[in-house]
């Protein structure tokens, strides 16, 4: 789960990291009011959960309250990289002496948390790492002992940071780690961290929380906003479905992420275009769940045919078949290619055969993924 900048900043401030003065506005009048309070010159920032907001026109400087109002008016209700702007953050414009980067990630290949520091703030960290590999400092540390002062001091001295800056950088780094551990963050960063006459200020804030840990910090759930641009993907998140839109015309429903991806790949290999990825998850035994998955897939108007690929173990084929019947009765009826294998396979197939005979529904039962992919591509009218 990713937090909005203004939400993350509130948490940063509560944990001793300085942030620019400012507030969130939902109307241009509010934005003008806030700019007035802040003394005129401000930065107006769209609160959307996308990277590269600045380049896409989501961050603008205003010389006076009126201009701030106008910018807010233009931003609120507009779309940035497909995300609707509902709020803007109006903040004091900072007097920039230097821009740094401070970030925290879990390095999954080393299974350790890592603090990342660089004197090159403003760009994203991958860009910094690629262009200026020598300017990126990484400190891997033990999650039980936490980040120790000496570890940070050592690298800062080695990298010739100004010794006046070191105590404050150390404090910020440690506070960032405290936040990360408290909220179980996968990533949190300050970019840029701006040096002003009054010290360091976090000009931007990012906080991504591990979804699996949210039950331990339930207050964060109230801050949740879907990051998905696509309407169907957004809905899928709320329904708890593993769905990704790919863009073609062959819908894919499989039980298992690997199987669903392999099915997608095979369809493309055979000259077709996968419309989506939908993993029903393991142990599917509720026909209503299957119905929900299929209804979701056929809501994409581009989908001409659905390929249901089930390898049943704990999953039971007849329950899957019941779900298919339910979905074909209640939603847009299009051809279904179905591969059922495993537990109660014959029962499931029988159910589908009977339903097709009774209702005239177009159902093609296949015995292998290859056969199914070929059939789906053929029905969709593409292929080699």
């Amino acid at each position: 789960m990713r937090l909005h900048e203004y939400q993350a900043k509130r948490i940063f401030e509560e944990h001793g990291i300085s942030i620019p003065k400012g507030r969130v506005a939902e109307t241009s009048e509010e934005a003008r009011e806030i700019a007035k309070e802040l003394g005129g010159e401000v930065v107006v920032k769209a609160q959307v959960l996308v990277g590269g907001r600045g380049k896409a026109g989501g961050i603008k400087k205003a010389e006076n309250p009126d201009e701030a109002g106008k910018i807010a008016d233009g931003l609120i209700g507009s779309y940035i990289k497909g995300h609707k702007v509902e709020k803007v953050l109006v903040e004091e414009a900072l007097d920039i002496k230097a821009e740094y980067y401070v970030g925290y990630v879990i390095d999954k290949s080393r299974k350790r948390p890592a603090l990342i520091l660089s004197r090159r703030g403003g760009m994203n960290v991958e860009e910094i790492a690629e262009k200026y590999p020598d300017d990126v400092i990484r400190i891997h540390f033990d999650p039980l002992w936490g980040l120790r002062d000496y570890q940070v001091r050592k690298v800062l001295y080695e990298a010739n940071f100004d010794s006046n800056e070191i105590p404050e950088l150390l404090k910020i780094a440690k506070n960032l780690c405290t936040i990360a551990f408290k909220f179980e963050a996968e990533l949190t960063e300050i970019n840029p961290l701006i040096l002003t006459d009054a010290g360091f200020v976090a000009a931007d804030a990012r906080l991504n929380i591990d979804d699996n840990s949210l039950y331990r910090n339930p207050e964060l759930l109230k801050l949740r906003d879907a990051t998905e641009v696509d309407e169907l993907e957004r809905e899928a998140v709320l329904k708890g479905l593993n769905y990704v839109r790919i863009g073609g015309d062959i819908g894919i429903v499989a039980n298992g992420a690997g199987l669903a991806m392999a099915t997608m790949d095979l369809i493309q290999l055979m000259g077709g275009r996968p419309a989506n990825f939908l993993d029903t998850g393991g142990g599917l035994s509720d026909p209503q769940k299957m119905r929900m998955c299929l209804e979701h897939v056929v809501r994409d108007e581009n989908v001409k045919v659905v390929f249901v690929n089930i390898f049943a173990e704990i999953t039971r084929c007849e329950k899957v078949a019941e779900g298919i019947v339910l979905a074909m009765d209640t939603s847009r009826r299009i051809p279904h290619v179905v591969k059922l294998a495993g537990t109660n396979e014959e029962l499931g197939k029988q159910l589908l055969r009977e339903f097709a005979e009774r209702s005239g529904a177009e159902i093609y039962l296949v015995d292998s993924i290859e056969e199914g992919a070929k059939k789906a591509v053929e029905v969709a009218g593409g292929g080699v």
Partner: protein, 289 residues
């Protein structure tokens, strides 16, 4: 020979009195796995299919001489269950549980580093040495004894490919599902090392997917240390970047973790990388005949 589990494997089921625990215990027993005990705190003294249930792992291990455990415990309690299993000094712990918090997994790894225990998972289907033992939920009918080793990140895809192989007459020495989480216990590299040393394995199949860098690390090992032929298949060539494809670890972040980079790394290491499921069977048949 086989790796990780065989006829001598003596298994404790952690969470044996739960719905999944009970169901899977029955299936493992039917396969011939030596389940010697179960653990469910507060249920000590009961029996499940004639198997004694204990309150603690220490007690279970002491009474039964078990060397392996399988964990069917909900995500919120799985961290504790894994630590308990490591503390009772087992050789192998298989954790099936899905949705364990990242910080719990990270701390588990610290504990593993100072222990004798090997962890498979979490969020994995487990491990089977066909005809010998199954510790996990892999469907029996897909597997047959043979000399191909399989290591994979995803469940149903592994079942499908294994079934195709079995039908084509290609049996397996051991099949290991390492799971779809971003920080699994055993990695591709670890399992490849075991297969390299195993007398019962001639060829290895690696089933990877987008996300992370485990396949690239495996490629490095294959290029420098591995003498046995490896066939590779990577799922997710058509996956768009930035989208989580079901598994927590299956996501292309930035420029990292694409199917192309994995396929390239494996091909550079001399792996026969195939494009589709059917090609897996053909490629392995060509190598093993």
């Amino acid at each position: 020979m086989a790796i990780l589990v065989d006829e001598r494997t003596r298994v404790i089921v952690q969470g044996i009195t739960g719905f999944q625990g009970k169901f899977q215990t029955k299936r493992m027993l039917e396969y011939g796995t030596k389940i010697v005990g179960g653990v469910s705190p507060g249920k000590g003294g009961q029996e499940v299919f004639g198997i004694p249930v204990f309150n603690t792992m220490d007690e279970a291990v002491e009474e039964t001489g078990a060397n392996t455990s399988i964990i069917y415990v909900p995500a919120r309690f799985a961290y504790d269950a894994v630590l308990e299993a490591i503390d009772s000094e087992l050789d192998l712990v298989v954790c099936v549980t899905e949705g364990i918090p990242l910080y719990d997994e990270m701390r588990v790894h610290l504990r593993l580093e100072n222990s004798r225990t090997v962890l498979i998972g979490p969020n994995c289907p487990g491990v089977i040495s066909p005809g010998k033992s199954k510790v996990g939920l892999l469907p029996d009918r897909c597997f047959a004894p043979g000399r191909l080793g399989i290591v994979s990140r995803s469940g149903t895809l592994t079942y499908q490919i294994s079934e195709n192989l079995t039908k084509a007459g290609i049996g397996q020495s051991t099949v290991v599902g390492i799971g779809g989480d971003p920080m699994p216990g055993l990695t591709f590299r670890d399992v490849l090392e075991m297969f390299e040393e195993d007398d019962g394995t001639d060829t290895v199949l690696l089933i990877g997917e987008i996300g992370g860098s485990a396949e690239e690390e495996a490629a490095e090992y294959i290029a420098t240390k591995m003498s046995k032929p490896v066939v590779g298949y990577i799922a997710g060539v058509t996956a768009p970047p930035g989208k989580k494809m079901g598994h927590a670890g299956a996501i292309i972040e930035g420029r990292k973790g694409t199917a192309e980079s994995k396929i390239d790394a494996l091909m550079d290491a001399g792996v026969t990388v195939v494009q589709s499921l059917q090609d897996v069977v053909d490629a392995i048949r060509n190598i093993m005949q």
